[in-house]
Amino acid sequence: MTSADDKARLSVQGVTVRFGGNIALDDVTLAANPGCVTGLIGPNGAGKTTLFNVITGLLAPNAGIVTMNDRNMTKLGPTRRARLGLARTFQRLELFSLLSVRENIRVAADIRKGWSRDKDNPADAVEKIIDRIGLRDVADARVDSLPTGQCRLVELGRCLATKPQVLLLDEPASGQDETETAQFAVLLDELAAEGMAVVLVEHDVRLVMDVCHTVNVLDFGRIIAVGTPEQIQQDPAVLAAYLGSTTP
């Protein structure tokens, strides 16, 4: 794969990031399509979160471009990108810990209301999202008091309140128990079915293999394989990346 699909909603082309002498991302190309969940997996330190930081504009790449709906966003700040329809969650939770679940989502909804021409009432939108992520029972609890699994859902809800076209999820299932992950998978399917482009970084391989349409494998800052979950599971390069060279 040499260039990203032209019709891709989000496309990353040739992104390289160096930290001092170390190459964190090396000529990474990746595409995410509407209606699809695109998986991004790879060993620790492979550069997954760094790639998310580049896509969202928190980190400027040394080379490469990021486009959304054919619009080059490489020079835009995170705020502008968010307003173009990009949203993300964080591996290390970045919740507004002083606020309740409802207020966390409300902040995001108000931000959208502030710049968009949406007619709808943010308060109503928030209630719908709370039901959707299934946190009605704890809607007034301060997020500080919630277990990690639910915090992940709050971050997702916050993203949904911005009505994103592209949703980047950084290890959303870590800290969730089995049931929560199962429900989460259903939710991801629904979001994709509604036409969102979802990029999923996750360690829970079963979840990745269940919900992703395409999986990208990142290793040492390079994409070493792209394919369907089945193809990835058989790919010798992937096995080598995870397990070491296959001949001990």
């Binding site: 060993p43 293999m209 599971q233 992937v238 397990l243």
Partner: protein
């Protein structure tokens, strides 16, 4: 005699519960490999063992003695050495100064340098260079030299292979094997599984904070791809 025993260790890290009731034993002179996908809690387990992170419950025993709450520098002085993930070196110090830091454990600088340079002659050529400017492999060698300089009885290695080319990883693991043959007990955490399985006496797979499988290396090989890729 067990160099290290972890009994019923549970731990949480930054609000995320990562370890659930882990039991693990490192018998004297053995190499134990702890494998697992990222996020499994491997590094946290090593940090608990080294006294850097307090367990929520469970006991850490070093040479049969309970050491919960003993500060890490005391453990270091008593022959435990952790080489943390991502290069256990001080990047703004020179190679010599990095080695000099080891003399806090009570070892003489001349001994530290002699041991290090015998094992890693390349470091001697770089002695005045700032550690951050070394290549990845050299940095990892320096980290290992630092660890071995005090002649530890127990070595904890965290992701030795991270960010390194496979050929350098093999080179490093040859040294690990050699160190093990000198009678040092080693607990090594790795994702880069097959290289370490060639060295280990015993291996365990950690997934989502639980040990899901343990056994001789050859018994585990086939389980690994399931653990990593769910195939």
């Amino acid at each position: 005699m067990n160099s290290l025993e972890l009994r019923g260790i549970s731990a949480a890290y930054d609000r995320i519960d990562v370890l659930f009731n882990i039991d693990l034993v490192v018998p004297e002179g053995n190499v134990i490999a702890l494998l697992g996908p990222n996020g499994a809690g491997k590094s946290t387990l090593l940090r608990v063992a080294a006294g850097l992170h307090g367990p929520a419950s469970g006991d850490v025993l070093v040479a049969g003695r309970r050491v919960n709450g003993v500060p890490p520098e005391e453990l270091a002085r008593r022959g435990m050495c952790l080489i943390p993930e991502g290069r256990g070196i001080f990047p703004n110090l020179t190679v010599r100064e990095n080695l000099r830091m080891m003399t806090f454990t009570g070892t003489k600088l001349s001994d530290v340098e002699e041991r290090s340079f015998t094992r890693f002659p390349r470091l001697k050529e770089r002695i005045g260079q700032t550690a951050g400017t070394l290549s990845g492999g050299e940095q990892q060698m320096l980290a290992m030299a630092r660890g071995l300089a005090t002649d530890p009885a127990l070595l904890l290695l965290d992701e030795l292979s991270m960010g390194l080319a496979p050929i350098i990883v093999e080179e490093l693991y040859e040294i690990v094997a050699q160190v093990a043959s000198e009678g040092v007990s080693i607990l090594v955490v790795e994702q880069f599984a097959s290289t370490v399985l060639g060295v280990a006496d015993y291996a365990a797979i950690l997934v989502q904070g639980r040990i899901v499988r343990a056994g001789q290396p050859h018994e585990l090989a086939e389980d690994l791809s399931k653990a990593y890729l769910g195939a």
